[in-house]
Subunit: 368 residues, 4 copies
């Protein structure tokens, strides 16, 4: 398959550029019988929407999604679901300053050499805007997973720039502009971001996403392991440079006697595995962490070259996120939902007949 | 597609269990005209082979690969290449101790619940042995990439357990049993591993793999980004719990002014991107790091349950690697080769006509 | 992959129902640099549009296509091309007569049992209307094939109901309402269709589609043979019940000495192969024929059952094509273009390096 | 995916050449828990084996299949099943006569131009021998379909050369060397074949394959229609030039009032649809017919060219089938089993939750 689709049985095929007529996707493989309205999708879209606080881009995008197909009388029919989001600001505003230059850290240089042409307006295809259709598609998967299996997916920030955010409670996440699971850190984060914004620079972010209620058995041993597909999905989010499952990089210095999660009839004794063993879900919480690089568009001058290969200095003005990671939480949630949904369908295709007497043990202790 | 294949145009379909008659794979999509012999594949297979030092498992496996098809008079024909490795030790030795128990950190519990049946002999399908066919397949990709494009792929260890291995030189990697790029650390590593082995415990490992000479333009913007597919491939290697591209998790605390790699006619000023921007290769070195968890099979007793759900204690004896990460270097190289090869074919399918006047700049400084 | 996509590298993912808000598709994998406007797509869409003569349905559908993405300043960028066609008539007119009944020959019964829900309005997903986005997608492939390689694709009717249409000239095809390659048969066809229409019955049709200028070498030996993928594409057109390549079913009674196309430096001596040998194009014309079943919606009463399983009589009124095959010519052309385009991209991915000294011989005699 | 795989969830990846070391395939996606031994596969392999009568090639091939993986203690584990068939006759016998020539009707010319290299020994990859692994893979699907759902698949000849074979009874098929469902025609067929063989010429064949007990609901509306995938699978069998579903080409001259199969509580009134409506199974018998071209290897001299492009005469000696179609029956059965199995898995992935009150009606009358 060409490169713009995600999934095998729950397939999202994405299209659009940030300043073209519209962006959207086709969601193919959604089981029939799921009640679905545009409001179900809009909720998550609004969570990732810009302009919700002074700490994110002040661009105004309604990101109103329209369901074009696959839903009849408020219920999914099993036919592909077409989703459309019109781009509002298509003014061919002056992009002359980047039309012929390659911005450091952006895809300008790579697109140009790959395609010989690029829609430079607002980043075109490489714009973070392309995550909006995925958030909408993910909302469909989320609703199915929650309503049919009680699977919940949620995300939060673990770090913004140099400010670590110790986990306190999921309840705080939606009560502050940083998706921070710890309101005690909000004041520090606001100060940090205000300083950063004034400096004209940007910073990276650490993000965590979790799925609870996932049954044991989802995933293939190799190569479509559940964790491998999660890594693929997360790394396919703009600006993500690292992905961890469970203990992640901390496992390097761990001993086997520490890392291997013990099992008792009462449940797992720990969750260093992040809910996945041998590529297959264990029934524990799925735990994923990722690193998001600093926004590449900053006001500070950077060295680069132009299309002719001449050296130039680039200063990027405009309404950019000082930390793109902040709005990435609903995106990561959506991607995790899409991967789990896809594996769930593959699993019931292959293993619908399987029955074992062995009782499943509880998720048990979660050390994340 | 079902879960045992990797790639879109250079496709490896893997089969086998550690104690079945044989393991192997079908490599489909290799271009015609590549000189290929079994010796080309054996070199890398021997690098991952057990029993090469006291620091790895003492199991004896010849891992002799046979080319079954796709090569005629020493040259690839464009037809699928069947690769076969016979399992030598199929003695139905006494696995009674694990037949009815679920070893912590292993896939026993997940396989059982997913399939309702598992080949428990030596880990069956979840055995690290299944990486052998991938190493053979990767050797085909490596030879093509090197002979046609001068792309080189190499890997080394960055950390073993608590011992950090500062990079010194690639020349050292093949002169010590740890794939360590720094012979000055070998004595410390030997002492560490000897102590670990005696303790009956195991440790994790950090691994780095690099590709040089990759042209600008490989990869799709979304979702088959080059970095996303690399993350998928690496995370599909047994025991990998984390993957980083370029700066990886370090990018969280970086400023945009630091992370974004500047460009000049003389080349890139740094390589925090790890050679990939917007999912597409930049022409810099591709830099990947991963975390490998400690071996789950240890002599120390662990709490677990049996098939009936009763609590038990598990002690795993046998000839296990105290650090599975050590032998993972050729595996990671193979996986990276497979991903790059696949993207190269996809790229020339879509962009064979593209020509730009803009000169490509040199890889420049590599800060890895 | 889920079932609504066609192709591997030139992938069309289709969505929509006949009476939903819109229909359309995502065309992923189109090479960059192709000049493309909506007018390029509209030409073929207008050829399949209803209401062009009294011999087809009198429904009025503008079928105006909008390009949503993948084209910048009139040229394809390599990004997926989103295509949108708004449904004009969404009036929830009275479909009460079919809502609870299964029309013979229609997909009502199968959809209902498969999905447990169906959008019964105008056939919903099973409507011939879903071929419109494919015609638009095919027009992109057609333009690429023609402008880059001089490949031409054209179709015509071979038979309508009991009226055989001997091939005379391609020039006639666009000068009569039957896509007939023989104006001498038009009067007979008009009389036949008028009688048929008055009778309230419908008839089937035979259709031929041809590609000229296809280079030798497109296709995979097995299982993605060029002819196998053509058969798949043609059989996926609504109402198609049979597909032939070259001599087709006539080859059963042929002798090997007759069927096997001889080769001379001047060209092939015949084309019983239909331009494909061993799944790979020969450089001859690709010759495909197909059978299209009679329209299932007829005014004559038929026996059927309702949702409760009770016997009923069904009479279908409305503006239906008395012979759906008539408008299928541009659809079959589009499908053939899509398959050839896809194989062309796969071929240059795998065989871009291949060079042989052997001269290609001319297509030679075409006995079709 | 590259071209040597068939299926989406029940995936067969095929490898091998007629005179290489071995042929085989990987069957990925077989559900766990199916009792399976090599004997289960050998039965169908023996039915397609050469040398079973004077009317087929006298080549001796044991075609002994070995199961390499995916089966443990006689039961499938859900892991990929590796199948291996060693080629016995690898003697590099003198193929000098075809090494530099292109045999009319063969893939010699197309392979050479596509790949720039070809394994000319016995047809290499294009040999009918490559169907053996598919027969073995199909036997797995057959056993699953029969044991789990009572689906039966069977095939027979409808015509050999100019001799039509009116259907009499399935019981006769396995009692004569022609897979003829009518022993009354055997004497005529033997005479016809003896004369043909003496003449040094070959003939085509017509073949029918049927599936009974297929539940309603298998298939996707577009583009992975059940009939489209069947057409793809059948056309991917060597030498097949045409495929029909149900009425096939006869539907062209049918009226809608004749073709559309009426439904009553007692069952369908006819089966012109061949058991598929809108790409989805109806619960009737799946009826498929195909045309197989005459063997291209004949003793009679044919005009052709050599690698240098010079005109030559070709006479093909050796032990060739005078009618390759005769041995194709088990192959077509296998392909149909593979397609149905694949769609069954896809169906239960997407529609496992669907429940309707409407009773399914019996298959009813079969007019085939």
């Amino acid at each position: 398959m060409s490169g713009s689709s995600l999934g095998r049985l729950f397939v999202v095929s994405n299209f659009g550029e940030s300043h073209g007529p519209a962006i959207g996707c086709v969601v193919d493989g959604c089981p029939p019988g799921l009640p679905l309205t545009e409001a179900d999708l809009q909720a998550d879209l609004d969570r990732r929407k810009p302009g919700t606080s002074r700490h994110v881009t002040q661009r105004q995008e309604a990101d109103q999604v329209e369901i074009l197909s696959g839903v009849f009388e408020g219920v999914t029919t099993g036919a592909p679901i077409g989703l459309l989001i019109r781009n509002q600001d298509q003014r061919s505003k002056d992009y002359g300053n980047i039309m012929d230059t390659f911005r450091p850290g952006h895809a300008d240089y790579t697109y140009w050499h790959k395609y010989g042409i690029r829609d430079y307006r607002g980043g075109g295809r490489s714009s973070a805007r392309m995550t909006a259709p995925m958030v909408a598609a993910g909302a469909i998967a989320k609703k199915w997973l929650t309503s049919k299996l009680g699977i919940e997916i949620r995300g939060c920030m673990t770090q913004i720039g140099e400010v670590d955010i110790p986990f306190s409670t999921w309840d705080d996440v939606h009560t502050n502009p940083f998706f921070a699971p710890n309101n005690g850190k909000v004041a520090e984060l606001e100060a940090y971001m205000d300083t950063l914004r004034k400096s004209g620079d940007s910073c990276g972010a650490g993000l965590r996403v979790q799925a609870t209620g996932v049954p044991v058995g989802l995933g293939s041993p190799l190569y479509d392991k559940l964790d491998a597909d999660i890594a693929h999905a997360m790394m396919s989010i703009n600006a993500v440079k690292g992905v961890e499952i469970g203990a992640g990089f901390a496992c390097i210095a761990q001993k086997g006697s520490e890392h291997g999660d013990e099992m008792t009839p009462e449940g797992f004794g720990s969750n260093h595995a992040g809910g996945i063993l041998g590529g297959i879900s264990t029934g524990q919480n799925i735990e994923v962490r990722m690193a998001i690089k600093p926004t590449s568009s900053i006001r500070l001058p950077r060295k680069s070259i132009d299309k002719a290969g001449n050296p130039i200095d680039v200063e990027t003005y405009g309404r950019h996120d000082p930390c793109v990671g902040i709005r990435a939480t609903p995106i990561a949630e959506a991607m995790l939902a899409l991967v789990i949904m896809d594996h769930l369908l593959v699993h019931r295709a292959q293993c619908a007949d399987v029955q074992v007497d062995t009782p499943q043990i509880p998720p048990g202790i979660s050390n994340y």
